[in-house]
Amino acid sequence: MNGAACLIEILNRLGTSHIFGYPGGAIMPVYDALACLVKDHKMHHILCRHEQACAFSAQGYARAMGQVGVCMATSGPGATNLVTGIADAHLDSIPLLIITGQIETGLIGTDAFQAVDMLGITHGIVKHGFQVTDINHLVETVIEAYRLCTSGRPGPVLIDLPKDIQKASIDNFELAWQACSEDNPISQFTPTTAQLAQAVELLEQARSPVLMAGGGIKIANAESHCVEFLHTNNLPTVTTLNCMGLLPMHHPLNLGMLGMHGTAKANDAVQAADLIICIGARFDDRATGRVEQFAPKAEIIHVDIDAAELNKNVQSTLGIIAEADIFLAAINQWQKKCVKQYSNLVKQCANKQPVANDTLSNPPASNINKDQGPIYAADFLRQLNQHTDENSLISVDVGQHQMWVAQHFDFSSTKQFLSSSGLGSMGFGLPAAIGAQFAQPEKTLINITGDGSFMMNVQELATIKRYQLPIKIILFNNQHLGLVRQQQELFYAENYSEVELFDNPDFTALVRVFGFQSETINTPAESNPAISRLFQQPGPAFLEVKIPALENVWPMVPPGAPNSTRLTATKRQYDVS
């Protein structure tokens, strides 16, 4: 058995069923070894059309499956094309195993063909990077890398594999496998009883506490514990982008998303709170606004699995290093003895509008079902809600459409929403949908995208065609890089610079070339029937929704401003004509 076959065999034994990759010179032995397993249906290889899409697809798989996603590319440009997807996984804590081919060890450092220092390039965006330079270390390295992806705070791990190591013989594979694959207990991070007692004491003293729920809750599968906790304490709850769907949109305790495009209710509650219980979030600037003025009256309980996140951006009164599910289960148990209801803020919130109507999305008046006039994204998404259920997974790209989906789509669970949140990578949505469709073939995958983002990985239509994936693509076309245009309008005196996309291709014709059903709609009355037709298609289908070029995402906290500062459509006297 050579190193390449050894790698594939280990991945297979560790439970890898899908690899998203693209072959090339320095990884040919691995593809040679892979062919047999693929032929025997023991493993699936998904050939994307660009390495960046391999990384995003593997992420989509990992996000939808809750398991390690695996992507693979050759050395040099193949490896560098993975980099955006690796960084994306790093910022959203997605378990991703990256395998890159490398030139032979003897040639490293000679500037050989297709050679880059992948280990060095990725230092800042992986949990760890391994370069295997001795065949005798291969087995333990692959097992350790795989384990590292999911241990503690999940993230990407790189294995850079020189071609001579791929070809080298390994004689004692079974022995090495047995030695390395024995159960290696993963240490769990649990709160101490003193921490639980202090947390409960802070809760009891608080008059207006708010729960801030982050992606760590989703990663730890802690949703049910979290819902129990917030119900027990009647806690008004705000979520980050990575925890949308924790509560139904109209749940009285759900104040919605906080931050730059968060709801007024969420940002106001946080700014007025005297206690923030933040679980599995890292106080990213998009969530906090100007961090010095974030929740100025509040004591902070911060629970995170990563010790480095505590006191990094926001000083906490009580920092607890713990997995979200373990902390929440423990505090629920602890609190069964002492319950206090925090009804004041809940009553205040209940008197306000429901979350979905609170965002002041432009225009305030609905335009649904009109024969003329523009389609507003918010209206369209509310209609889309009527056609979807908990079996739908939504992958989005990055831009205005992403924020509209976060504001107006009524998610049934946190797992329903696939979004590049930390890095904000345009081009994420389509390949992520591909990966997620392989992970959850029974689900309906909907990629909601914009005209800017769609073109960033448009070549993946070929992947969808190749594997006949029934993905539904909805493209909001405003012929602009909308979120950049919006900021130029608001903060750069309408000095529009390189944001117009009036020369977009004919999207429906483009998609038809790949053999998909496709159509375009222009008026609100067309929306509902078009959505129905989209879902009636058994295979992949595409719907282009023409929206006003100058529609904005409201409300908006200006970059660098505190969350108490808020621009709304009415304040801007916005005119869509």
Binding site: L119, G129, L148
Partner: protein
Amino acid sequence: MFHEFEFNTPIQPDMAERILRIMRVRGFEVANLQVIRRSNCLEFRLQGETQRPITQLYGQLEKVYKLKLKSATEHKKSQLQCHS
């Protein structure tokens, strides 16, 4: 402020590179760095200068694969100069 760290890492050629990158990204300037190769590990002694609290670097260093932190000390600049 000066911060002093002592830690051990596995013998890997990219370790110093990883450490220095973390220092730069987290806003610390290197004041002094000593690396000694022992039989089974690399031994680091590191001094960094910054206005940021020591935890900003401490927490990130602790995440480096198989890095074993032995000590982390915060000094005001004047204190360190007295020692030297």
